[in-house]
Symmetry: C2
Subunit: 393 residues, 2 copies
Amino acid sequence: MITKRKVAIGQAGGPTAVINASLIAFIEEAMKDFEVYGISNALQGLVENRIVHIDGPTFQIAEKFWNVPGAFLGSGRWSMTSEDFDRSIGHLRKHDIHYVVLIGGNGTMWACMELARIAEEAGYELHVIGIPKTVDNDLGVTDHTPGYASAARYVAASVRDIGQDLLSMRNFETVRIVETMGRNVGWLAAASALLKETNEQPPHLIYLPERPLRTEQFLTDVSKVINTIGYATVVISEGVCDEAGRLLSETALNGDAGPKVLGGSSQFLARQVNECLDLPARSEILGMNQRCSQLAISITDLNEAAMLGREAAILLRNGVCGSMLTLLREPNALGQYHCRISHCRFDEVVGHERRLPDEFIDSSGRGVTQPFKDWLRPLVGDDLQGYPQWRYS
Amino acid sequence: MITKRKVAIGQAGGPTAVINASLIAFIEEAMKDFEVYGISNALQGLVENRIVHIDGPTFQIAEKFWNVPGAFLGSGRWSMTSEDFDRSIGHLRKHDIHYVVLIGGNGTMWACMELARIAEEAGYELHVIGIPKTVDNDLGVTDHTPGYASAARYVAASVRDIGQDLLSMRNFETVRIVETMGRNVGWLAAASALLKETNEQPPHLIYLPERPLRTEQFLTDVSKVINTIGYATVVISEGVCDEAGRLLSETALNGDAGPKVLGGSSQFLARQVNECLDLPARSEILGMNQRCSQLAISITDLNEAAMLGREAAILLRNGVCGSMLTLLREPNALGQYHCRISHCRFDEVVGHERRLPDEFIDSSGRGVTQPFKDWLRPLVGDDLQGYPQWRYS
């Protein structure tokens, strides 16, 4: 009897709306060559030996989750210590698993790299592949990251809708400050401008982590918009910092003791508008829906997430490892959007948080350029349109 | 030359995702018999004489907004004084407008009733029709109100998605408290349970304005869920009050001086969970997207909003007035969902805020019944599904 090789896969970090597409496409393809194991809560499950065989019936259940947001295997955050790596390799050794695939972001790719390195030092043969995933889109080398396009679609549609709502209500409300995810990068906040076609349309101002925010300048910016347009829809990334590099606001999930999460800058700025400009301002935090709204899933995103999952299994079959998969944009002969799958070494992405490049930020620093919109448009889908511009009176 | 009779239409209160469907269907039908005028910002525009003829070219623009959230004419809040009514009637008299249609909620129907009464007292012939609109669904007589179904769809999908996300992240986060709109009624918060099929699925607890919330009981409820399921997705309506009838939280748009808006109870409760149960809890306010998300529009809602707009024009043509239009649920011969349009007197709805009836609230007071879900299902559409239940480990 020939024993199949064994591969274990985990989903790490915050889930996305399409992370299960990568998982399920991987399992489906990998099952042809491997016995597939799932790792609960990714890194934590690796450390705690929560590694479970995915048999036929389990896969039949998993398949139903292909377009369901959240992570089928359980995801979550976990900081790996060197002891954790040793324990993980111990568990893999016991299971006789020599192939590991992790779907995740920057921290996960670092863990992949370290896992491979420490296994090698320990003389344990281990092939590791990383499948990129993050709504923040902060991974390098790849053109973009699965999960980002759906989140960007949510942000673009929401800011268009919230701005249109404010236009209707401007006899009652003057300023809305919409806060997006993104950690230290402005990709999601920038996506809010995708459907903006004229100066009048929202968002009127975008504050990105790539540029420091001075509160006085912010208040001047808002005043200018109020004076010309009469109301203001403002977008701010959760990761925006002041000139000293301090986050505008940082809140804790569990008081001061609990794990830190970003968010709340919009509330700080709304208070500033209240107090300094004496204008009614509302803070809107787009929240978890950005990364988990099934209604906002981009078909392109879903397909690419699945493509990468499948490719990870093919790479393992072909003996490639030590790599993170990437999407390389290569328009077809007609100039239409197309991505080719490639891969890069972990050390090419680890530790490099890809920020929005200068050519995607306009000269004011509070808006985006047309090249950014041209870059983003095919990712979120052509079906998402801006609204006609019209102000009844 | 025969001069056409003149009708003016306005959109009042907070916009919905389908309020423009009512407007545009009305204009299209009314133009056959009437010269149609639009009132900017509804009641405020009536008082300030911002009444503009909707000619052919303007209608061609308006048509493009049929499925665009926000109010094409401008909406907003405005408290009418008796002087305001007199001024409004003065403006209508100058324009020779004897027909007025307002799309709005409870306050708007009161304004319709008063406008008709004061015009009659002043000896000015005025025919007034009200088209219901509110995401809160708090109007009586009608089975439901246009705008509610799309908002309910947004809430149902969001709580399903946010709950699935939390299930994936429960090694990091334990409690999410999702806050819905709804003012003093629980219809929107209740909608969060539409896609829940098992105890394990979200939401695990729903707090409705129809039942007082005792903080101690709330903490006990959350503890019980944590002990059995391990994490908790909680939904709270913005209008929930304590036993003394005080709102859990009330925030102001413009400090203490500005107009009051509801919201923030979820933040208060998240802090309680932090401090008293020592668990990480996150507050999620679903915000404006509930009433303006184009991605969440229910086709049933859109069609019914348009049907009511058209019917308003037909009623005026037939000489009916002093009425608010209603939707009466009358299943067809096969038992399938169908609504017939009817109408009622303004005084039948004015001042009666329809709360969720007892038969729609379960015996615990923190969930809904199957009859409520059966009632809601056809409004939001059969295409919106729950997720398969599965917990990997």
